[in-house]
Symmetry: C2
Subunit: 416 residues, 2 copies
Amino acid sequence: MKTGLGAAAALEAILDATPVMPPETIAVSSALGRVLAEAVESDRRLPPADNSAMDGYAVRRADVAGASTERSIELPIAYTIPAGGDASRPLEPGEAARILTGAPVPPGADAVVRQEDTESDGERVRVLVSPSPRENIRDAGEDVQRGDRVIESGAVIGPGHVGMLASLGRSVVAVHQRPRVALLSTGDELVEPDQSVDGGRIVSSNSYSLAAQCRAVGADPVYLGIARDTPEDVEQCFRAGLGADVLVSSAGVSVGDYDFVRDVLEKIGCGVIFWGVQIKPGYPLVFGRIEGGPLVFGLPGNPVSAMMTFEQFVRPALRKLTGHHKLFRPTVRARLAETLTKKPGRLHFVRVELERSGGDIVARGAGNQSSGALRSMTRAQGLLVFPSEDTELAEGAFATVQVLDDEFFASEEPGF
Amino acid sequence: MKTGLGAAAALEAILDATPVMPPETIAVSSALGRVLAEAVESDRRLPPADNSAMDGYAVRRADVAGASTERSIELPIAYTIPAGGDASRPLEPGEAARILTGAPVPPGADAVVRQEDTESDGERVRVLVSPSPRENIRDAGEDVQRGDRVIESGAVIGPGHVGMLASLGRSVVAVHQRPRVALLSTGDELVEPDQSVDGGRIVSSNSYSLAAQCRAVGADPVYLGIARDTPEDVEQCFRAGLGADVLVSSAGVSVGDYDFVRDVLEKIGCGVIFWGVQIKPGYPLVFGRIEGGPLVFGLPGNPVSAMMTFEQFVRPALRKLTGHHKLFRPTVRARLAETLTKKPGRLHFVRVELERSGGDIVARGAGNQSSGALRSMTRAQGLLVFPSEDTELAEGAFATVQVLDDEFFASEEPGF
């Protein structure tokens, strides 16, 4: 076991130990946001047949060569082909067929004249233009040919993919399973939100914030409750999570407590890979793995430390498990609205509010940066990376910010 | 009724007619991503009592004034206060109390000396430093005071908000209701994905892609099925959606068909506000409102036109209904990898792939731009805005791109 790793080394150790979830087959209509675990090939052509791009008249070009407003050419309307209609009757020389958008083009026709370029009494049509070859005809297979690999494995399924899968006649699709994350908190002082906080009790908010962090990344949280500060109770809670893909506890890992949790981890067969990361907040993070069982994260108990270590270390692991290739938050370079200072030795994540100003993004501290001050996490749109050995970031300087709040990118204007 | 509106005017007409959904009360644990419909005030202080920021010893500063490594001061350990423990016993002069992180500070104590700055045999503690006033004590209410407005109405609920609500003892919260969107397709040629496509039939993929677009924006799709091309069937389908907040049909609105749908809309009491928007793809969009009933969008039937008009016009309306203030996609300025041309008169939305190159974002056409070519919507990460009156955007020039794919912003590196 290693202790006091740098943030990058800790992340590397975690991702090295993190597998990708096996596939499962689910309904296409439930697949939004999931990561595709198969390459999708087409067993058909799209569109399936030559069809009309417009409402108009299918013609043989030879019959209307040279037609114009001044020199219109009149043809009898032999029949009508609606969308989804039958196009087995060929178009004979000297005939036109009324055709609607999406309707199959009949054999013999080699162009469609759009309605706006004709005049008609219902029996006969006067063609006012001379169409070019295959004008207004969408060719069978112009979008997708039989055998085409239409979507690559690893794609994150969006609405366009859902529509395409439906178009290909697919009702189910293989995606990576969602990781199940067992969550537990430890501490005699903790109560559930609807219980009394008299006598120094505090609400076990971590299971709520951590469950929300799981959901936000597409994982499936399972809440195991609050373990009391006895080895028996903690062990029992941990054991209840052994069937999950990831086991996340909070509290019980600080200097004074750690021996206690380590004993429990050993008893349940968890090989501890490291304890302690050179970051603030969140130093006392424990990471281990149970052979044939879950990844195990012991997060510190302070509300901000728990969320921060989840954000930096559990979230990328969950993204990898889920099949994602880009594991991390968007980052931006932001200009500091105030000078920040710290001691060297640990990388600090500073909770910041973000604001666009001119062409720049400006970052400003989101209030009390104590590891217990959860309010800052309701205000923070980003986490500013204050590197390990730096002691000052001056007002006006630029720094890297991890953007937590997707809404930051949303716009108040449509772009047109 | 107006026809052939510009895109901005159409959007304005839609948003003017769009209300905000009324509130509903839901469990905090289900509130992630919802928009808060109340201001959250605190009925308590956080932390609830003065408590220790470290594992260590509560002392009276006067007893350890001048202590140092060379001149340590020894005190008896009178008792221990665990997290969640009882701090009613005052600390008498000349005593120390063992205290754990988060535990309440006893009356009389005015500093906590952290464990690393002491030596102890379990009975007595040697203090090696002289603490400053209230050192390592977190003051009651330092994060939140009773009566503080902690979260503003209109906030999009993230994991930090969920944790804060739990900390405040809230188990339910008021949020804007999710709009219910009734979806129907019309067309004799349409079949469900698991049905045969022989004889020119095509899969009704629009209800799948549009349902996914609804879900992606936090709305709740209700699929009403495929209406056949008879006035009776279309009317019956529309009527089935009258209880929804938004009614979205696809197909049946192009030039040849429109009278037909207009008759149905009139019969069900829908006041049509406009028909036709000067965009491509997607011109024949119908928008109306049923008094006391849903907003009504008649989208064109081509798969890309349906998705595009949803994206540009239905999505912002759904964002407004849901309570969001920023209604639109992120936009970026992107450099064109190829020259684009068009006729003047309509605003084009060009489906593009995006790539970062140096400091720039480069946009490249995502394949066949036909309104029937859905494959482009599986590849497009953005929609490039090709303004109405422009006829050429030259390779190397910059243009506005609406970013569809949130994953575009995700990063392959952690930022530290």
